[in-house]
Amino acid sequence: MSLWVDKHRPRDLMKLDFHKDQAVRLKSLVQQSDFPHLLVYGPSGAGKKTRIMCLLRELYGSGVERLRQETMTFTTPSNKKVEIMTVSSNYHIEVNPTDVGIYDRVVIMDLVKNVAQTHQIDSSGQKEFKVVILNEVDDLTKDAQHALRRTMEKYVATCRLILIANSISRVIPAIRSRCLTIRVPAPTENEIASVLQLVCKKECLNLPPELALRIAKAADRNLRRALLMCEACKVQQYPFTPDQKIPEPDWQQFIRETANIILSEQSPKKLSEVRQKLYELIIHGVPPDMIFSGLLKELVRNCDMAMKCQVASHAASYEHRMRLGNKPIFHLEAFVAKFMSIYKKFVEESLGDAF
């Protein structure tokens, strides 16, 4: 609990820094006895988890914060044992089913059943349900999602689900319709800057507003990243200066470098160089769709309008095909090759016009 991100995380719904009206609604949701399944979605670093924890605290009191970590073992139908790490309190259990890959269905079924069936010993005073938090629901396999819909209905008396996703586009409609969907939009840069200021005040530091804004911009509207960057700034150099170098996650830089290589020269040799970079990105666990969007964002800057549309549509189609396939590197490289061919043609044509 020493990093600012953890230390200064709000614990109470009323103490949230932004989306306050939403917080009020959530609070009133708790006070009514009817608490539905929730599907909380929004970009990373927007504060989904923070809100959920506040909500739980609202529901069960501070006992929710007494967390323990344990590893549960499940047996798949093929008799394979899969282990999954869970974080739980007495009132809730949180799990990330995508950790076990294609066996997520087993985890969801068994876990929800366990939780729903073992709670009933003393229900007299407290809420008569436990909460199961499932992370990254949008990455669940279709099987798991379908397994979820029945469970959600069957055990509604004893357990509630809170699903967390980045985007609901990949959550099947059946689940969407069973949940109250709550969108947590990313904070604006100003909001981030004000949060940074607040935290620095708590830490008794003096943060120049320019730096705060710069950090907010660099963090890509991700509050978590902004806080970490701010703290890193502080560790690197304390008396803040407005034009201080902001440490950035390396993978962001790396994507930018890759885009620059693509733009610098279009030749098969460069393409193979780019491939190594792409491999490197994938190795580091950067999801291919993030690579796609990162590359596109950088590449499009150097294109004129007609080309922008073309490139964007290609990126979309290649990304779509990547989702159908299994080897992202093929699709990434195909996109890069396509871009190179388009760009080279464009450059040659414009040069031809010049002469």
Partner: protein, 885 residues
């Protein structure tokens, strides 16, 4: 002969010699007739008549009604009666006749004046006139003869045959009565021998030309027929008994035609020699006496280093062999490992060479039990004992067939057997293990099978390649000849090519075709339909990859087959992906885009297939890969390596993933973030956070603020289960290394941009250890600490926590049921008594302490509620270790 009128007659040319002889025999034959022109007319007249007589006679003979003339017919004519059956024979006399006819036919039209002019001039006018008259007369006569041959012949014949020899009345001469079919009686004359002889002579002489011709023709024909006959007979006689033999002894052809001598071996000569040479190296230890005399000074030796044969000289050879043998006189390699594709004759080679080298081959193959125990027994019995029953008293040579299927422990046992004896040598030979004294030949298909790894190091590896197609074809032809199966050379070579060195498969196909078709002819269709070559032909991935990248003019369809045979489409796709950029010049990325579109399709299909477990599109996978060929194939050879990138990538990815998951698992639950948050935000920035900038390296001189930052670093590391671990580097220095190595995840490329200096690392490490102790302490004192609601534990966050704790408490009070729940807990007073019973004499002490604790609990009921969080009443209170002492 040069002026012969029909020089283009082939037959005559062929039999020119014979014709010459004929001419000599018959100076009055047609040859003379032809020469007639320059000759005086009178002579020619004289000579021509017997000839015509002659020729016509032969026809006449044919025409003569046989029943009556049988006894009269000359033997020559009998021979001639055969002739019409033979077309060529017919031709020759007729042509001869024709020439004669033409010649004489011409005569009427010829102006003899013109023809004979040169000669005439030398003669007197009277003579000329006379000559002319004579000539004309002669020509007329000739013409008459030709016009009415039968009448003339009849006149001739009857005068000789019918009138004299046949009579309807009872003749005066000696006769033989014959009865006609009509009932008429005919009396045939008995001729005296002399007259018969005479007539015979005349007729034979006359017909000899035809007879000879006929003879030669018949002879030639007979020869041809005989040849044909002989062939068919040969086949018939050979195939029939062999079929019987096959039925009788159900011997596989493979076994039947197994090589029985060194020269029969189909495998490559260097391979054979390598093995034989290795076997001979054992001679010293196995056949003690023979070797010294037998030790060859000059031979082609197989040098293991070079893997080749070298024809070594006498002095050099001796030196070369020395390292091959160890101090015991045994070969350096105790085991020969034969490897190669199935059916090339490895087992045969091993058996034959062992026998040649004077051993008794003892085979142990996959059908035998191969547990460690059984294997040990087999080795012991084979290598340490000697067959008693064997007449020759030959030493054993153990042949371990199909060793790649043997379990790893078995192979390890074998290796131990070889190496242990090698190292212990003579010293320990008396005790437990005796040195291996017999050669062991191991045979495998896959040299790189995992279980063979230990064996590979200690054995002489001999690669047995497939038999060359030419030799295999020759062998197949031989087998066919022996089996009475007709096979043409091109079919044999096609079969050999199809078999790709697999002798066994090729011979099996022969036998199978024969058994199935029951006909002694093997044609191309049989070979093409044969199921070899496609059966379990295993193409390696590299072959397939090579095929994709090279133009194949000969057989464009082969690519798909190769890809199909190779399988491993995913790996192949990776291979194509890895190499397509260098395959061809591709300035505009057309090739790249095309190739990648195919690869993407492949990827999509394969993942769809595996996701839905629906294999209906599976057959499209090789097509996707094959179509890359049309874009990528080139004639320039290029280096194609095994696809490694994808594997390497996967490996590093797993490594980095494991780091992330280690952090995730280790991080304390209060800070636990989702994995993506860790990966993209926290870990990449962690190195910056954990690198505090201090003015001096020595922590002692640090200001309070700086110490605080170090403490923050340390506690952050504790939160995320990071640790500085002392590791001894190569130079013997100890360095602090972050564990798990977050830097690897955080940074791309090898260099680490941000890294605290060693002193700071050490300071952080120390601080962290303190922090760990502090936390443990806190954990131990958790209950009392909690009872004071966090205000002691976290001074930094005290205010906030206090407030929150306050709100929490307020809430708890707001919920009445919680408080109601507390009251029954007062019954817990009973539980200490239970404890008392358990701890016996320790009871008073613990009771005393408890009496301290209990009032506390009861005093602040809200605190007691925190005990109650579990649904388990067993955890009611803390028992410290010191309480128990």
């Amino acid at each position: 002969m040069s002026d012969y009128p029909d020089p283009d007659e082939e037959y005559e040319l062929m039999y020119a010699d014979e014709l010459e002889m004929i001419n000599e025999e018959e100076p009055r034959s047609d040859a003379k007739v032809v020469r007639k022109k320059p000759l005086p007319a009178k002579r020619s007249l004289d000579f021509s008549s017997p000839f015509t007589n002659n020729t016509l006679n032969s026809f006449d003979v044919n025409n003569v009604p046989t029943p009556s003339t049988i006894p009269v017919d000359p033997p020559g004519s009998e021979e001639i009666t055969l002739t019409p059956t033979i077309p060529l024979e017919d031709l020759t006399p007729s042509t001869n006749k024709r020439t004669a006819y033409e010649l004489f036919g011409d005569i009427e039209d010829i102006d003899f004046n013109e023809m004979e002019m040169p000669s005439k001039k030398q003669k007197t006018e009277e003579e000329v006139d006379l000559d002319l008259i004579e000539k004309i007369l002669e020509g007329r006569r000739l013409k008459q003869i030709l016009a009415e041959p039968s009448s003339r012949l009849l006149a001739n014949k009857c005068s000789y045959n019918v009138k004299d020899n046949l009579s309807l009345d009872i003749p005066r001469w000696a006769f033989m009565p014959l009865t006609n079919s009509d009932g008429d009686r005919v009396y045939v004359r008995f001729e005296s021998e002399e007259s018969w002889e005479k007539s015979l002579d005349s007729t034979t002489e006359q017909t000899s030309l035809h007879a000879t011709y006929a003879n030669t023709w018949v002879e030639a024909r007979k020869i041809l027929e005989a040849k044909q006959q002989q062939q068919t007979e040969e086949h018939l006689t050979q195939s029939l008994p062999d079929i019987d033999a096959d039925v009788n002894n159900n011997m596989l052809w493979v076994d039947k035609y197994r090589p029985t001598s060194y020269l029969d071996l189909l495998s490559e000569e260097p391979v054979n020699r390598a093995l034989l040479h290795w076997l001979h190296l054992w001679d010293k230890i196995v056949f003690k006496k023979e070797v010294k005399t037998k030790e060859p000074q000059q031979r082609t030796t197989f040098s293991k280093r070079a893997g080749q044969f070298q024809l070594t000289n006498k002095w050099k050879g001796k030196r070369e062999t020395e390292p091959e043998v160890d101090e015991d006189g045994r070969p350096h390699y105790k085991v020969a490992l034969l490897c190669g594709p199935p059916g090339v004759g490895k087992t045969t080679l091993a058996h034959l060479l062992a026998r040649i080298a004077g051993y008794r081959p003892v085979e142990l193959n996959a059908s035998d039990e191969r547990s460690t125990e059984a294997f040990r027994n087999a080795i012991q019995s084979a290598t340490l004992m000697r067959s008693v029953l064997d007449v020759d008293r030959r030493p054993n040579c153990l042949i371990l067939d199909e060793i790649d299927g043997a379990p790893l422990p078995t192979v390890e046992l074998l290796v131990r057997w070889c190496t242990a004896t090698a190292t212990e040598g003579k010293g320990k030979s008396k005790t437990k293990t005796q040195p291996l004294k017999r050669p062991i030949i191991a045979i495998c298909n896959d040299l790189y099978a995992t279980s063979l790894r230990p064996l590979r190091a200690v054995s002489l590896v001999v690669q047995v390649g497939g038999a060359s197609a030419a030799r295999l074809a020759a062998r197949l032809a031989h087998v066919c000849a022996r089996e009475g199966l007709r096979i043409s050379a091109h079919v044999a070579s096609a079969l050999a090519a199809r078999a790709q060195g697999d002798v066994r498969a090729a011979i099996q196909v022969l036998s199978f075709i024969k058994a199935k078709a029951k006909r002694p002819q093997l044609n191309m269709a049989d070979v093409e339909n044969a199921a070899i070559g496609t059966k379990d032909c295993h193409k390696s991935l590299m072959q397939a990859l090579q095929a994709v990248f090279t133009v194949n003019d000969k057989d464009p369809g082969a690519l798909l087959k190769t890809i199909n045979a190779a399988g491993e489409y995913d790996r192949l796709a990776d291979g194509i992906f890895e190499h397509y950029l260098t395959a061809r010049v591709d300035g505009r990325f057309r090739i790249a885009c095309e190739t990648l579109s195919w690869l993407m399709l492949h990827d999509t299909i394969s993942s769809w297939t595996s996701r839905t477990q629906n294999y209906s599109l599976y057959s499209a996978l090789p097509l996707c890969l094959a179509s890359c060929h049309s874009v990528l194939a080139s004639r320039t050879p290029q280096r194609i390596g095994f696809p490694k990138q994808a594997m390497e990538m996967h490996r590093t990815k797993v490594e980095l993933d494991s780091i992330v998951s280690a952090v995730e698992r280790g991080s304390s639950p209060s800070v636990s973030n989702s994995r993506s948050a860790l990966r993209f935000d926290i870990l990449p920035l962690a190195p910056y956070l954990l690198t505090p900038q201090l003015r001096s390296a020595n922590v002692q001189f640090c200001s309070e603020v700086e110490r605080k930052t170090i403490r923050v670093c340390a506690s952050a590391m504790c939160d995320y289960a990071l640790q500085y671990v002392q590791v001894r580097s190569g130079e013997g220095l100890y360095t602090y290394v972050l564990e798990p190595d977050v830097n690897k995840v955080a940074f791309f490329g090898s260099e680490e941009k941000v890294r605290p200096p060693p002193a700071i690392r050490q300071a952080i490490a120390r601080e962290q250890q303190l922090e760990v102790i502090r936390r443990n302490e806190e954990m131990a004192n958790r209950v009392p600490a909690r009872s004071k609601t966090d205000d002691v534990a976290h001074p930094s966050t005290s205010k906030k926590d206090d407030k929150q704790g306050g709100t929490g408490k307020a809430k708890q009070r707001a919920l009445p049921n919680h408080l109601q729940q507390l009251k029954p807990k007062e019954i817990t007073k009973i539980t200490p008594q239970v404890h008392k019973d358990f701890f016996g004499r320790v009871v008073p002490i613990s009771h005393g302490h408890r009496s301290d604790a209990v009032p506390d609990v009861i005093a602040s009921s809200s605190v007691f509620y925190q005990y109650q969080e579990g649904f388990n009443n067993a955890v009611r209170r803390n028992v410290r270790t010191k309480d128990l002492l």
